[in-house]
Symmetry: C2
Subunit: 336 residues, 2 copies
């Protein structure tokens, strides 16, 4: 492609852990404003240069601006990054829409499907901001490690190559490598479903099984995620890449993943109500397991692992029941 | 398929850790004889029901027969399983060939390429035992976990479906699930190259980087493994399955993998000579990195991770040099 006009101003909508992390990364290089829903968080970011609730122990750069006004955050933005949870995504974007300038690209960094509608985040962007190039930034991104400067890679999923190159240039650094991928559907489905597989991987770990078993769960989990993603219109290669396999492997390895942690507790035999009661944040995969199982049933896609996670999370089955049911299935050809 | 004649007698050629493990699994269900190169190992297996050098602490089942005579081991065998290291594979098979009955399937469980010729193990079987159905059993199989009865899955790669179904029936148990795959080339290439990627994953771990970085190495490693495998005639789906991703994930997670362990030591800055001198067994990936780099260069396939592992293992580069070189590469589109 030829020389593109660089993006000079970014609004990051959502001051949770990942939104704030992106603000920290972007601010020294491009004018960046973070939107925090709660004014006291915006105050804290501006005055104390911290966001203790979401980025414990991190000092934020002076260049990062922050406001609780969506209008102020979005004024003059040439790129909008949306980092709010899937259940609040539509409401925030609806309020934001009036303040986003024509033609400005809007990128979701949220991994999930909208409860009820089962929509992907870029579908919601398309509904509320029609005509804006929509994209998703996804992949193996544990915020703490990215901030520590550990080499990481992400995928920017956007259908339009020229817009993708402009957005890629904003995010790419020597240690956070951004790969583009035109397969938006595949990238978003992968990001949502991998949380369910991470619960399954945590379960077998909690039951005391080793690396073979976990590798089997991760691999067969990716196979069913791929079947669903392809049925929904995704590209099979996406699922073998950073948004699929990469994110799945990182989530299933990390002690810091909430979904993985929930699976481990379930595998140890803790009742599901107790596991979910024990924390403030609900693991996305718990909710997603039910939504994905519905979508899969509608499309006639077999997803035995997702189905077992759903039974354990929502129907009172135990992790031991789940493993027994899975092992009773006949083994067939891998490439069928 | 219709009703196939079951396999009634198996010879396992090679009494290392994986060969002995397969003997332990098979013997209670089908007449099984293990061949040990050294008579004292055969004696130990028969008299003491142990193989301490390779399966520390394991009591072998009474049904497992063992001999140091290849002729005796192969007499009446209806399936031959070859479990000797890649550098000794040809010599042992050459000696065995005269004793294998016509049409008996021969299955390799060795992961590697023959030094010098760069041949896959089933290619050597095809040369020395032409006309015999040849296959490879591969996937995420840490012997200790399989023996402990942890749920595991393997891939049986055989071109002929009817033969594959017969062999699958011999190995399949409720906890060791055997999936068939007609893509022999892909399965064998994956098994060999994953050891090189495991060294790279170990290196970033040894340097103190976290789960994002490792997930990136594993994912981009699988991408280059896939490029090579497809160029050699493999099916892209194989690499996303148990023989590719599954084995890679297990090897890169396991503290018990020799290749992973070598990578960690290199990442901590230990000189390569010292790392390799410290152990009896050479990690297969060290040797394979040089062979694979040659094959890739011949085919014009880009393999930046394999190349960096080769430079560290054979050309005096440090792990830090390798990471720096990799991060200096431009990030492009994932699906190019």
């Amino acid at each position: 492609m030829g020389v593109a006009v660089p993006i000079r101003r970014v609004a990051v909508v959502g001051a949770g852990s990942w939104g704030t992390t992106l603000g920290v990364l972007l601010a020294p290089r491009v004018s960046t404003t973070l939107w925090a829903r709660r004014p006291e968080v915006a105050e804290e970011v501006l005055r104390q240069r911290t966001n203790r609730a979401y980025l414990q122990g991190e000092v934020l750069p002076d260049e990062l601006s922050c406001t609780a006004s969506l209008e102020d955050a979005l004024a003059g933005a040439e790129l909008v990054v949306v980092a709010v949870p899937s259940h609040g995504f539509r409401a925030v974007l609806d309020e934001a829409a009036a303040h986003v300038a024509l033609g400005v690209p809007v990128v979701s960094v949220t991994k999930g499907l909208e409860p009820g509608t089962r929509r992907r985040m870029t579908e919601i962007i398309g509904e509320l901001l029609p005509g804006h190039p929509a994209g998703a930034l996804t992949g193996p991104n544990l915020a703490g490690e990215v901030l520590a400067g550990h080499p990481s890679a992400s995928v920017l999923a956007m259908a339009d190559e020229a817009h993708a190159a402009r957005v890629q240039a904003v995010f790419h650094t020597p240690t956070l490598r951004i790969y583009t991928n035109p397969d938006v559907v595949g990238c978003e489905v992968a990001g949502a479903v991998k949380n369910v597989i991470a619960i399954a991987a945590g379960m077998v770990e909690g039951m005391g099984f080793g690396d073979n078993t976990k590798a089997m769960v991760v691999t067969r989990g990716l196979a069913e995620l791929t079947r669903l993603g392809v049925a929904l219109g995704g590209d099979a290669r996406t699922f073998a890449g950073l948004a699929g396999m990469g994110d799945l492997v990182a989530t299933c390895s990390s002690a810091r993943s909430r979904n993985h942690e929930v699976g481990v507790a379930l595998g140890r035999g803790k009742p599901v109500a107790e596991v979910l009661a024990g924390t403030l944040t609900v693991a996305e995969g718990v909710r997603t397991s039910a939504v994905v199982a519905e979508v899969a049933a509608d499309l006639g896609v077999e997803m035995p692992l997702v189905d077992q996670v759903r039974l354990v999370c929502h129907e009172g089955a135990t992790a031991a029941d789940a493993v027994e049911a899975l092992l009773a299935r006949p083994a067939t050809s891998e490439l069928r």
